[in-house]
């Protein structure tokens, strides 16, 4: 029987404790279709897909694959149903070749017929337009190539229902384009493809239909051609949202921080920062673009005194701060605020309340050996009011707040110290659109006060709208600093890939 509907999930419910992650969700994917699953963080996208791949069992509801009801008890059931998932974080063995990774975990003979295998892999690769060398080791591959291996692995297993979790997060715009072409090829060969994403432009570009989830419920399924990004956002957020980000004009003041010829290596001796030079000016937002792990985190942590630097200078008011510990930097009176990427692992103490978390920044200033928490109580209460932080109270552990409120606590604490420099790493990651805009407003407010701001971002559209200048990183090297008002996404994309002649990624 030739089934058109490959996947049908009906009235799916799944709770974690008191949280209803999925509440009567309905979802359908056809053969030959690219179906986007759109929703904000915590809308239930991943939960739904984890049930389709057998990682979770639904509390209630039914799943039909090719018209047959299937009860998933383990990921094995999903494999039997030819459902393959490509995770956001690739699960490949670094020291093995593409070929070895692809056959890993496959049934087969004791001995591998190498030639036949290579041919089969080539055949599949050619069929879908995946350029790949089966004998290349994974550690020699670019991120785009690794993704190709993941996709090939899933196809080699004969899967025709593919789930891709945020596949473009680590890709340059050019690599993304190629990926979308491959996805379209796969769909035209009869696969059903589900893409989990929260990036609207990608939904518009690649999908045939979109299902929108909000707070664990299916809002609707629409045909992509008949909708607009604005409409999708409104459905996703549940109210109409102004998508534009303000970029107030502030007259830039003097140079506050100057980074000169910075080199650094990671624990394994691999060069992570390669001759980095740039300056931060008061009243200006310097954006930093680059695919994931291009050295963004290392730059931030170097400036904050948290990363070992091999050579180079970081000059703040005629003073080189390289080699100083965070404690020394704070005690020298350098007013610098760093909003790290890992909020609960570095910026805040998850199990402590707001007051004790505020103390992280404040305890240096208290001279007595005993801490006085009373003045902090007042500051925290004011912060809750000013930033509209939703919390049961200042004595509530911060880990129990929502992502947006956690970030407000962190940013609130940092800007309360009236810094001269504000460094933010992925400040809006995981936040809903409303919270994102609150954070942009806060950053713009600091810009207005003449603070020098460095904004590490992952969404180029936002960097282009919010920042004044954009520094583009590729593999720990500065490819250039461009004016955000005049440059284009394509230019930045080429630079992210390592030059204007895009490397042969893919």
């Amino acid at each position: 029987m030739n089934q058109k509907v490959f996947v049908k999930m009906k009235d799916i419910c799944k709770s974690f404790g008191s949280v209803k992650a999925n509440n009567l969700v309905n979802f359908e994917v056809n053969k030959g279709e690219v179906h986007a699953l759109l929703g904000e963080n915590g809308a239930g996208k991943s939960t739904l897909m984890n049930m389709l791949s057998g990682f979770y069992k639904p509390d209630s509801g039914s799943v039909f694959i090719r018209g047959k009801e299937i009860k998933f008890n383990s990921p094995k059931d999903a494999i039997n149903e030819k459902i393959g998932m490509i995770h956001q974080h690739y699960k490949l063995v670094d020291v093995q070749t593409a070929k070895e990774n692809i056959i890993l975990g496959q049934k087969g003979n004791l001995f591998v017929n190498n030639k036949k295998l290579s041919k089969k892999i080539y055949d599949i690769a050619n069929e879908y337009g995946l350029p790949i060398n089966p004998d290349k080791k994974i550690y020699d591959m670019s991120i785009g190539e690794k993704q190709s291996v993941e996709i090939l692995k899933v196809l080699y297993e004969g899967n025709d229902i593919l789930i891709m979790d945020e596949p473009t997060a680590v890709l340059t715009p050019q690599e993304t384009k190629k990926l979308f072409q491959i996805i379209k090829n796969m769909a035209s060969k009869g696969c059903a493809i589900i893409i989990i994403t929260h990036k609207l432009n990608e939904v518009m570009e690649v999908s045939d239909r979109v299902t929108i989830l909000r707070k664990g419920k299916t809002i609707t399924t629409v045909i992509t051609k008949e909708t607009t990004p604005e409409l999708l956002t409104n459905l996703m957020v549940g109210k109409s949202v102004n998508l534009s980000i303000k970029r107030p004009e502030v007259i830039k003041s003097e140079e506050i921080l100057k980074v000169e010829n910075l080199f650094a290596k990671n624990k394994n001796g691999v060069k992570v920062l390669n001759n980095i030079s740039f300056s931060l000016y008061g009243g200006e937002i310097l954006g930093v673009a680059g695919v994931a792990n291009s050295g963004q985190k290392e730059i931030c942590e170097s400036i904050a005194g948290l990363y070992p630097i091999e050579s180079g200078k970081i000059i703040y008011e005629n003073d080189d701060i390289v080699g100083k510990t965070p404690g020394e930097i704070i005690n020298k009176g350098i007013s610098m605020s760093f909003i790290p990427e890992d909020r609960l692992g570095m910026g805040l103490v998850a199990s402590m309340d707001m007051i004790d978390n505020y103390l992280l920044k404040e305890f240096h200033n208290q001279k007595s050996i005993f801490l006085d928490r009373n003045p902090i109580l007042k500051i925290c209460n004011k912060m809750i009011e000013d930033l509209q932080i939703v919390t049961p109270g200042v004595n509530h552990p911060v880990k129990q707040l929502s992502g947006g409120n956690i970030q407000k606590v962190l940013i609130g604490r940092e800007i309360n110290t009236n810094p001269k420099i504000l460094i933010t790493a992925y400040a809006v990651r995981g936040l809903d659109i409303g919270s994102c805009h609150t954070i942009y407003d806060l950053i713009n407010e600091q810009k207005g006060k003449g603070v020098a701001i460095m904004f590490i971002g992952e969404d180029l559209d936002i960097l282009l709208q919010l920042c004044d200048k954009i520094l583009v990183l590729s593999e720990g090297t500065v490819m250039g600093i461009v004016d955000a008002r005049t440059t284009t996404k394509e230019t930045i994309g080429h630079m992210m890939a390592g030059g204007l002649n895009s490397k042969e990624a893919y």
Binding site: Q3, G17, S18, P326, P340, M346, F370, L371
Partner: protein, 360 residues
């Protein structure tokens, strides 16, 4: 089908109830064991209780055991707060006792107050220095503190054994391998029939509570225990805090050693730590690292030790039966952590089995 569900949050009352039921379950299971030995567990438990708390004399004995448990638990707690797994309490007690003994034996004629003060300070410093060794290794070379603190216990035991059989052997003990008894001035006085170690314990509990809750150092220790990265980010000198806290942790255990040597044994020998360093790991963990809870938990364990000795003579069952009860309590207490975080829910499979085939 049972289902595991993560609890969003849990009230203090609920979690206390779960932990209490762990202790009750431990008694039930150990009861089965006692039944196998051919005794009525209820009778055994009653006489254990009787043996530990049944008379004023027995209560005093139990409290005498509780004192070193409380002090050692407080010492260990400081390290545990920092997630520095100090299981070297045993060795730190012994070295503390050794430090106190040097003064007790060499300056026996000093006035009582001065001699005891010197012994206290020396016990604290000796225990502290002993604990500093694993801390230095950890800070300098990133070694595993669990193994080093554990191994140092045995070195300390062998060191005291060597002293006892060798250089510090009392020539007037008729060939018996023992260290000389302390002079009267080196022995802690009593108050209300119990040596004044109990006053030390109370003072230590109160001081450390305030230190951990209110002081800058206590705050830094908690931050380091939660996350190294956050501590670095906040500009805390982690190495310095680790070294200082381990010195404090070992020093407090050393005070327990000084008290045991001075008040209980009135000499030094290799068995004065009597397993307190290990039992204190259990009591510290059971008390949830809260100083005020350490006192009742230590009293319970003091009672178990004392009651265990009692049933040995009353029922002629080995003391090991009581030790099984101790380990059962730890076993169930650790198991109960799961129920603090999760709850089990009984539910029927309710996948809908509608016939959907016609619709596709």
């Amino acid at each position: 089908m049972f289902q595991m569900i993560k609890r969003a949050k849990i009230s203090k009352k609920e979690s206390a109830l779960i932990r209490l039921s762990a202790i009750v379950l431990a008694f039930l299971f150990s009861g089965l064991f006692i039944l196998l030995l051919g005794h009525n567990p209820i009778n055994v438990y009653i006489s254990m209780f009787d043996g530990a708390f049944g008379s004023l004399y027995r209560l005093k004995e139990t409290i005498t055991i509780t004192i070193p448990l409380v002090i050692t638990s407080i010492g260990i707690m400081i390290a545990f707060k920092m997630k520095f797994w100090n299981i070297g309490g045993e060795g730190q007690i012994l070295m503390g006792a050794f430090g106190a003994t040097i003064f007790a034996l060499n300056m026996p004629e000093l006035p009582k107050f001065i001699l005891l003060s010197l012994m206290l300070v020396s016990g604290f410093i000796s225990g502290g220095l002993w604990a500093l060794i694993p801390a230095i290794f950890k800070v300098k070379f990133g070694t595993n503190e669990t193994i080093i603190t554990l191994m140092l216990n045995y070195i300390a035991i062998k060191w005291i054994t060597y002293l006892q059989y060798g250089p510090m052997r009392d020539p007037s003990a008729l060939g018996f391998p023992k260290i000389a008894n302390f002079s009267d001035n080196a022995i802690l006085p009593s108050l209300f029939g119990i040596h004044i170690g109990w006053i030390f314990a109370v003072i230590i509990v109160i001081t450390v509570s305030i230190f951990m809750k209110k002081s800058k150092w206590g705050y830094k220790i908690s931050v380091i225990g939660e996350s190294f990265d956050t501590a670095r980010y906040a500009g805390i000198n982690i190495n310095r805090v680790v070294l200082f806290s381990m010195f404090l942790s070992g020093g407090i255990c050393g005070i327990a050693g000084m008290i045991e040597a001075s008040a209980v044994n009135q000499t030094l020998n290799y068995s004065i730590s009597a397993g307190y360093g290990f039992t204190a790991i259990i009591t510290t963990w059971l008390s949830g690292l809260m100083p005020s809870i350490i006192i009742p938990v230590s009293l319970l364990f003091g009672g178990l030790v004392k009651g265990g000795n009692f049933i040995q003579t009353a029922f002629l069952i080995p003391k090991a039966a009581a030790q099984i009860l101790q380990s059962m309590i730890l076993f169930f207490a650790i198991g109960s952590e799961f129920f603090v975080n999760y709850k089990l829910k009984y539910k029927k499979r309710n996948y809908t089995t509608t016939n959907e085939k016609e619709s596709v």
